[in-house]
Amino acid sequence: MVHESGDVWDVDLPEMKIDKNQIKEQAKKYRMGNVPLGLGRVMNRDEFEDYEMEVLSRRLP
């Protein structure tokens, strides 16, 4: 998409959005990409924050 001024150089790129189901479907469809990605093994920020809370709530023995 071209910016209104016609100059896209200083337009910030959109944030990457990750849809695990789409990744898995596309991996099946196109047989491309690496195995972890194809299996949908991707962690986004929200998932990481949940994981972080869970790990830090555990006590070391």
Binding site: L13, M16, I18, V55, R59, L60
Partner: protein
């Protein structure tokens, strides 16, 4: 291509040094769980975009930018790589903590104290210190002037965690074997061990103590990528010996349980006799008191 100014060149050099650290951290982190962690990739995509803006000016595609444009974009790229590095460092810290708690969750504190005394002495306090220290670094990551020394400090902490993790990992087989042995003998009295399995106190227990002392005396190689082969062989030999004792104890468990069962039955029998004697004594006492009171009246 136009030359870089001194200021631009200095910042670009810092960016390159930071990227070297980023790459090292990223390659290590990426292999930890076999999954892709998206947030740093997002930052790197933005860093790349800022670098391309610089090239667009330096190659004359957009010659009329102000004099700060190139420096501002080098600085912006630096900040994105800085944030990407912190994303990975946070990720590593949490994955390592997860790994440590998961590995040790079934190991009792008694076993840890006996086989791996350094865990409570040095490692556990150090892990707690590092984990408490890291969020302080994390809160610094958004400050106005990103500082590579903070990344270096954080990186060193994560490397320390990695070294502790390696020591824990190395001790896991010994911890599991020792835990197995102690669990097998839970509920078995020393009397049963002396009677049914006299070798336990004579040979096996002293030998287990010797092996554990040997394991704890092995110097741990801090260089996780090139461990000392001689020590590794000794360690593996110790584990085999523990395993052999564990198997021997295992073979004696049915006999020990049988003995314990018989002992309990005998005790139950004894209690029945004591109860009958007590009842008879009470009856005799009652009869005697009746006779005595009749004699008095």
């Amino acid at each position: 291509m136009d030359d870089l100014s001194d200021r631009e060149e200095a910042r670009l050099k810092e960016l390159t040094e930071l990227y070297a650290k980023y790459k090292h951290i990223m390659l290590y982190a990426d292999a930890l769980r076999g999954e892709h962690f998206a947030p740093p990739t997002n930052e790197m995509k933005d860093a790349f975009d800022h670098l391309m803006r610089i090239y667009s000016v330096k190659f004359g595609l957009r010659p009329d930018q102000n004099e700060n444009y190139v420096f501002t974009n080098i600085d912006a790229a630096y900040r994105h790589i800085y944030r990407a590095t912190f994303e990975w460092l946070d990720y590593i810290r949490i994955v390592q903590m997860d790994y440590i708690t998961e590995k040790l969750e079934d190991i009792s504190s008694e076993t840890l104290s006996a086989v791996f005394p350094d865990y409570y002495k040095d490692i556990r306090p150090e892990i707690s210190r590092i984990v408490a220290e890291i969020p302080a670094y994390k809160s610094d990551k958004d400050i106005g002037s990103p500082d590579i020394t903070i990344v270096t400090r954080y990186f060193e902490s994560v490397k320390q965690l990695r070294s502790h993790l390696n020591r824990i990992e190395r001790n896991i087989p010994a911890l599991i074997k020792y835990e197995e042995i102690t669990k097998k003998l839970e509920g078995i009295s020393s009397e049963a061990l002396v009677k049914v399995f006299p070798e336990y106190y004579k040979e096996i227990l002293p030998d287990i103590s010797r092996i554990v002392a040997e394991i704890t005396s092995y110097k741990v190689d801090e260089d996780v990528d090139s461990p000392d082969i001689q020590i590794e062989l000794q360690y593996s030999e110790s584990i085999k010996q523990l395993e052999s004792h564990s198997n021997r104890i295992n073979s004696m468990i049915p006999a020990l349980i049988k003995y314990e069962g018989e002992r309990k039955n005998e005790k139950r029998h004894d209690y029945t006799i004591y109860a009958i004697i007590a009842v008879i004594a009470a009856l005799v006492g009652a009869a005697a008191s009746v006779v005595i009171s009749a004699a008095i009246t």
